[in-house]
Symmetry: D2
Subunit: 366 residues, 4 copies
């Protein structure tokens, strides 16, 4: 850098399946951002763009919601949980949940010390039974153990699967039986939506979700994450929670602008559907080559289990893929000694060429 | 919104002196952001752009520094203070400091309950004497009162003034006498730098600053704030503090891209110098019309005191200006009964036309 | 220590005016503690003694209250404030309040980062006007400044004065005008009660107090502090707040036992009245010797201002007294160059002999 | 209560095996407390009794240690962990540990949001292998997962077993391999010590313990818990941590007085050995009646597994015993359908008569 003009990385190199947050900005997002680069607008979310996007969220969810932009998915999740925090509060989530594994105790910190109880369950999903059993360790009124506070599900899950509407409803029932709210980590909300083919309303408040972490970054934004409350009462003091955490953007409109491009012409659903379709194709390639996946492939992630030699061949061919821990898979699924499980993530930037290159590399692995 | 294509606000309406964070993105910033919109890059700050900008910071500050992007100035300040937090820690700042007045207790929260002691001082600046007196209320080892933790100065100050290098050095001496570090809130760092005409190194670590909140948002970025440590030891665990607060961007490069445009060709210094010059001109207009300012005009803010009738005329003419509380000004400065004090902020987007319109509106006020 | 049997300090040496928490246990308290030393009782407050004392509190306050023992006055205050905590919450108290000056940020920590705003006012008491002015810096809905959360008064105050019922009522009105609750730090509750000659109900909930830190340690207990809620709704989750802070005693009955002795035969009112009377006599001695006090002497503390030579003579005679900072006293009260202000605290253990010794030492100072 | 004089519970009813914190004060403890009831002593731990007990701790542990009284075992544990807290810190303990199960998130709160990872292991003890495996989920430098912070063991364990010195040493090695400290929850420290027959030094710092929660309440004190640092560097700021949590007693000497009685004439070891012996006898009775225990009986707790009819007979005979969840016992140990596991705790107040009554009740159950 310095005196010479910087040059941009202009193209997408092939077979980058590292993560959906390795991709840049989708064209519509970047275009909207450029469109709104000038002019004065009130700061801290009082601008017309932010207000317009809030209206857009109401339309999308077919009811009044309360929307708050924050900087990251970790913040969205942790502040959502903070909105329902109780002293000694217990949060229930799948044991592979991002809030449990990947947020450096941000949920614990923002809630004043919640304990996150990881619940086992197939395909990265809690079962109502598993959840209820976990909650039963925390009977009401036993001060020593703390008090049940929130249930959190991830949609799509960290394992690449998707809760059906019935499954969400059953989790909701379990949560309601203990009178606690349901949070949805929607870091890959659009991918799940594209899979289920339902409406955003159906996948959230109609199924019993009280608060949603709405993620758009992984699906083509630079940085656009929001907390969406369906429980408007709980949203009332949230602006203070957000500000206290340093998450109130002064130029809020730059997030709003991204979301304008994200939503217009159903771009968000299109990019998500595309990413999902690419994952399906990759899964087929894996199957065609004698492999299987650790969990259901229902969104834009897959976790193939292949021979070590195949994995090595893919790496040699330039595929960006990473080995992945599989936890407690059933014996007939778990990798054998000469096998390896790895993660692949698709996005708006994944192409048919990527799939073809992957297939070719695998085929040549013999 | 909805089905019709949104149209952007394409121009800067005149006389908007509301705040520097009402302006959009400076052209060079937006251009750099567009330049880097595509391609895969590792997430969470491991990308080449972020790494390149870190090198750029080393060059700018003429030594190795540790740079961490965060979402907002409040986060930069609060996490800086958190890096030096102690149980029962006392933070000393000017009583008008942003951390004391405008961050919704984010510093208190991030530090596990620090107490911020506001120190009085002319022109928004602490004096070494005032600071030492405030610190003397907290002798070492008296557990009841807590323990001195950090001194924080704002450069340029919330009153629009700038600490000279000697003044910073004197504050540093006071802090050192109690063995505590010096933080600089540089939300308007570039404006102060342009005023002093010194190097970034001279205004920071050479003057004794240990950690800096480096703000670029007010000076033309969309969202680009960083914590810059000169005290590399203190920076060691900072990545965890940041992540725990939900401030680790996954697509870190979008901040880095903005800063690339910000720094190239000295854009940052140019926009800051421009904003400062506009403030000087506005101050001259105020003086020409029988007014004065509450505090020294040394950066991009001024606080004119004019007749109420003049203020009303400006508002009627469309000026975006706000009345401002003046605190404890000396009697010969403080607004008289028929006078009002208001704030004006200039930025890269302030034009000669704005100044002319302001002068015209004031002249016509009679 | 070690092999030789320890010997107890058996007597109260004269002229110890250092602090009321330097005294040991009042006889009735120690006797009750001994009385209950054996037998099994359920732990964690489910014992019959704790339950009996809770009933006793209901009688004393002439209504149902919710009582929670905690270890210290700092904990009682801080957890009371925590029960009403809001993100970005602002607590208003006198600038000399214990919560502001002497609790090592325990209130800030327990509340998740409240800011305590110290309000000036004569004799250690906030005025309604001063309080309202302080609150007006925090208008509703301005997220940057935070939100008003609680008003806290100390009864008797740190300056040795006592709020009248009318004064408490006026503070309550100011708090109600912003819809926030009123906390009373009653570390010296009994002393204030003895002075006012009113009922506990009149001095608390009938005057608008929502939650009380009930202190008994300074008035003759070993360790007996409680949070007493008149606002039963706010008390609902308090057991979790207390436990989360490590303040739920397993052998709760040992606090209850002390309070049994404290309350029986109106011991608490008798010891408080005694301590107050001793303070009155000491004040008279000060006046007789040409001195004055910095603030009203209405409880068991006095802050005499005497000649430095008199102070030295007292110290030489063995008086335990400490110089005290006087802050911003009026010119006609503040110590002159050859004068010094010091603190004296009386307790159940202060005797007529102590007063006589003090008078004698002062008389001999010439 | 009220007008009639309260009468004390004068005797210990038989077969109360509910918990060791249901017993009152041991005679020597109460006697020392009475001995020190009068006289003036400086507050907040500056008194001669507290200082004398600190010296006593040095003798007991055969080196300089730093001792801090706190109100409860939860506070001792949580503040110990807070002394080593890191942002995103991970604490490793057995999955049945008190800090994990019974402290209402006090550790999470005091540490600013630590995550407690429960590790499985037989008899309530972590194995070095199990610990290392759990730690391996948190590799150094991976900011998402957080950072390893502390290992905590309970001695004696919540299952009634005791770590041998070799076992402690092996845990220490595992902790050292990740450069993190070792905390010991010594709520039943004396019981474990009596079992091992080693010195306090051998069971703590010589085996690698850095900080100890020293509990005396369960073994005959009213309220006497302390944090004991062997790592003097870590102890340096601890007084502020304690005060910030509201755990600095003003009349510190009342805790010191209890410990004086506790330590003199080796009372603490005698009461612990007595309680342990009672547990051994009860275990023998269980065995004699066809029962077994869920875990090793090595301290003052046992978890018999008996026929449901036997359990019912014991309850009918007036035994205070509680059913207990057994978790994941091996098949040959776990209760069968007609069996039940329950907890029994002995203390200084348990008598041979209690054992005899238990044996009689069980014998008559047929």
């Amino acid at each position: 850098m310095g005196e010479t003009a910087p040059t941009a990385v202009a193209m997408y190199p092939p077979m980058n399946f590292a993560s959906d947050n390795w991709a840049g900005a989708a064209p519509a997002v970047m275009s909207a951002l450029s469109r709104h680069k000038t002019g004065f607008e009130p700061a801290y979310g009082s601008d017309s763009l932010t207000s317009g996007i809030s209206d857009r969220f109401n339309e999308i969810f077919e009811r009044e919601v309360a929307v708050f932009f924050v900087a990251t998915g970790s913040a969205a999740n942790s502040l959502s949980l903070a909105a329902y925090a109780k002293p000694g509060g217990i949060v229930f989530c799948h044991k592979t949940a991002h809030i449990q594994v990947d947020e450096c105790n941000c949920p614990e910190f923002m809630t004043g010390g919640a304990k996150l109880v990881g619940v086992a369950g197939p395909h990265g999903k809690m079962t109502p039974h598993g959840l209820s059993a976990a909650m039963s360790d925390y009977p009401d009124g036993v001060v020593h153990h703390g008090q049940v506070a929130t249930v959190s599900i991830t949609q799509a899950t960290e394992c690449g699967s998707v809760y059906s509407l019935d499954e969400i409803g059953a989790i909701r029932e379990a949560a309601r039986s203990r009178s606690i709210p349901l949070h949805m980590d929607g870091a890959r909300f659009a991918n799940a939506l594209a899979t289920l083919g339902c409406t955003p309303a159906e996948m959230t408040w109609k199924a019993g979700v009280d608060v949603l972490s709405f993620g758009a970054t992984k699906n083509g934004c630079w940085c656009a994450e929001a907390v969406v409350f369906f429980d408007l009462e709980a949203a009332r003091g949230f602006q203070y929670l957000r500000k206290r955490a340093g998450h109130l953007f002064s130029k809020s409109r730059f997030v709003a602008a991204q979301l304008e491009g994200y939503f217009e012409n159903d771009n968000w659903l299109k990019t998500a559907a595309h990413a999902n379709a690419m994952a399906q194709k990759l899964e087929a390639v894996v199957g065609d080559n004698g492999g299987r996946t650790a969990w259901l492939v229902e969104a834009n992630e897959l976790f193939p289990i292949l021979k070590k030699s195949q994995f090595d061949a893919l790496c040699s061919a330039g595929a960006h893929i990473y080995e992945w821990p599989v936890g407690d898979l059933a014996d007939n699924i778990a990798p054998k000694e000469d096998e390896v499980c790895f993660r692949m993530v698709t996005s708006f930037a994944t192409t048919e060429d990527d799939v073809a290159a992957f297939a070719k590399a695998l085929a040549s692995a013999g």
